[in-house]
């Protein structure tokens, strides 16, 4: 099979892929490397191996507080964004809508509008309306940022299955609500899980919106930002960043794995 035209190994392309991955990940990998270094200075040569910075992290009360804040915001954001995402993806894929293209374009807009602009805009809006800054306002900002990710994850799932399956359910006596719960929901469930994991990760790592919209309660990225000024705290920040990196990677990978059959759903129903 490996010598068919399409599947033939392509040396330059393999080389390109390797270079691509190195450029992408080597800078990031310096974080875990230095987080195990027995020195408060981030420089070569490495001094020695230590878990000291990780242990120090455990004793810091504000780290735990901001972690809990980030989890609260992340969970709420992921549920709201995925909920809206399901409705939007169903509407986009199932109904004959005038101006479908522009609607999808507008929904995807937060992906390309700079976060700082959205952050300032929301800050202006929120303060005009007299709403005090809190984790709630951060959540609102995060829902906007996460919605495109949720929709982009869910649309292939909705497109992947035969429309007549939903019609068959209606034909067998179920109204739209029951059809959704008995047919649509189970069939798009892997997409929903993937969307929840992905939007949680995006919210958990998000900084700019949180910077503008948070009040007294800091999220984890905000806490990291605040600690960067103190040299003696820096190795612990590296340790923290390494943990976040690992958890983020696991969550996104898990989401992709659950949702791996997104495009083959149509084959299953045929």
């Amino acid at each position: 099979m490996s010598d068919t035209y399409i599947k033939r190994a392509n040396r330059p392309l393999q080389f390109y892929a390797v270079v691509f991955l190195i450029v992408l990940y080597v800078p990031v990998l310096f974080l875990p490397l230095f987080s195990f270094n027995d020195s408060i200075y981030v420089k070569f040569p490495l001094k020695g191996f230590t878990f000291q910075w990780y242990i120090e992290l455990l004793d810091r009360e504000p780290v735990w507080e901001s972690l809990m804040n980030s989890i609260k915001v992340g969970v709420t954001t992921s549920i709201i964004a995925t909920g809206f995402g399901v409705l939007a993806a169903k509407a986009i894929t199932r109904y004959r809508m005038p101006g479908r293209g522009p609607v999808v374009g507008f929904i995807m807009l937060p992906l390309v509008v700079p976060g700082i602009i959205f952050g300032v805009a929301l800050l202006v809006l929120v303060s005009r309306m007299g709403i005090p800054l809190s984790l709630y306002t951060v959540t609102i900002g995060h829902v906007i940022v996460c919605l495109p990710f949720a929709i982009a994850t869910l649309i292939p799932r909705f497109e992947g299955f035969d429309k007549s399956v939903e019609e068959a359910s209606a034909d067998l006596g179920e109204n739209a609500w029951w059809t959704f719960w008995r047919i649509t929901f189970p069939m798009v469930f892997p997409g929903i899980m993937a969307s929840l994991l992905l939007t949680f990760t995006v919210s958990f790592d998000e900084f700019i919106m949180a910077f503008f919209l948070s009040g007294a309660d800091a999220t984890l990225p905000m806490y990291i930002w605040g600690q960067i000024r103190f040299p003696q705290a820096f190795p612990s920040i590296l340790a923290l960043a390494s943990v976040i990196l690992l958890v983020s990677f696991i969550l996104v990978f898990l989401g992709q794995w659950i949702n791996r059959g997104a495009q083959s759903g149509s084959l299953e129903s045929k």
Binding site: F161, D162, S164, V165, E167, A168, S169, A170, D171, L172, G173, E174, N175, W178, R182, I183, P186, M187, G265, E268, S269, K270
Partner: protein, 365 residues
């Protein structure tokens, strides 16, 4: 059929998709327990009509009555009809048992009762013991039967079938045709069957509506459609037909004597009602109603031609004969037990002959 015993009554129904008219003033009556087919090539509106019966498409104007009830505004889940989809639409995340029992939720049955009903259906569709199979472990024919069982378990008044045999291979399709017909007789409910396969429609149906461009051309029994098509379009869609031009010479006691180009005098009682002598007509004959001989059969009802070509079809052969004055070669079908020998020797003179009333008068101007 009178309008009173019609079980499904389609009254002056039109359907527009934007500016495109998919259904054009269709009126049909379908009787109780009838096996009724909608036959036409793709894009003729047959599936749209079926989906309107199921409630997936609204009518633009007109009304559909099922069991005396007007169906406008009644959503699919409240209609006394069930549908077997072309793709079967088996629920991929449920096993066979849960697929078949899908529509039973509202009946609030005990598990035992529910399982009994499913087992009964599995027996009916000849798949006993398949209850725990996953949807993706089924073959095309099995999916088709599950889709049938899923609908029949609800005891609908009408079963709608959208080309349910289209995806099956020829042998399985023929077997399923017989099973479907037998099943319909067993359960005794009305079947409305959509197909583009004329043989399938002729085999299965009590009556057939031939459709084209959103209109019904003829609604009749298979025999009548084949023997007495109302116009050239129906005649050429159902089976093979030879068309000729001719002039009416005289009409006596319903028998028309027609001078047909290339054939001479033809007598038939299969005429249109208001035929007058002197009119130009289109007249047609089925290939199997013509007899091919190498010797002059003598007598009337015969014509001379030249054998151009022959197609061997196993049980029978089609012979193509050119006749002077007729543009298209005339097709003659003959069983191969009385085969005309010497296939290799083409371009030789032959004679065509026919019995009285073999010809049908289709149109006149």
């Amino acid at each position: 059929m009178t309008q009173n015993d019609a079980f499904i009554s389609i009254r002056n129904v039109n359907k527009f998709f934007g500016n495109f008219q998919a259904i054009n003033d269709v009126s049909l009556d379908i009787g109780h327990g009838e096996f009724f087919s909608l036959l036409g090539s793709s894009g003729c509106g047959k599936t749209t009509l079926l989906r309107m019966l199921a409630g997936f498409e609204s009518v633009s104007s007109g009304e559909i009555y099922i069991d005396g009830q007007p169906m406008s505004g009644v959503p699919p889940h409240h209609r006394p009809v069930n549908m077997v989809f072309q793709s079967y639409a088996i629920f991929p995340h449920l096993n066979v048992r849960d697929n078949i029992a899908y529509g039973l939720r509202k009946l609030k049955l005990t598990r035992a009762k529910r399982n009994d009903m499913v087992d009964e259906m599995l027996e009916l569709i000849k798949l006993p013991g398949y209850g725990d199979r996953k949807a993706n472990q089924l073959s095309g024919g099995q999916r088709q039967r599950i889709a049938l069982a899923r609908s029949l378990i609800l005891r609908p008044k009408v079963l709608l079938l959208d080309e349910p045999l289209g995806a099956l291979d020829k042998q399985l399709r023929e077997q399923m045709q017989l099973e479907l017909r037998e099943l319909q007789r067993t359960v005794g409910i009305t079947f409305v069957f959509v197909t583009h396969d004329q043989e399938e429609a002729l085999t299965l149906s009590d009556r057939i509506a031939v459709m084209s461009n959103g209109r019904t051309l003829q609604v009749d029994t298979p025999t009548r459609l084949y023997e007495a098509p109302v116009n050239r379009e129906v005649a050429s869609f159902i089976g093979t037909m030879n068309f000729f031009g001719g002039t009416v010479m005289s009409i006596t006691d319903g028998n028309a004597e027609i001078d047909v180009v290339g054939l001479g005098k033809v007598v038939t009682k299969n005429t249109t009602p208001d035929l007058k002598s002197g009119q130009t007509v289109c007249i047609a004959v089925r290939p199997e109603k013509l007899t091919l001989t190498e010797a002059d059969p003598a007598g009337s009802n015969q014509a001379r031609g030249q054998l151009d070509n022959a197609a061997y079809l196993g049980d029978r052969s089609h012979y193509y004969v050119s006749i002077e004055g007729v543009s298209q070669p005339v097709v003659i079908s003959a069983q191969n037990r009385q085969r005309v020998e010497g296939k290799a020797e083409m371009k030789r003179p032959v004679w065509l002959s026919w019995g009285n009333d073999a010809f049908v008068v289709l149109e006149h101007s």
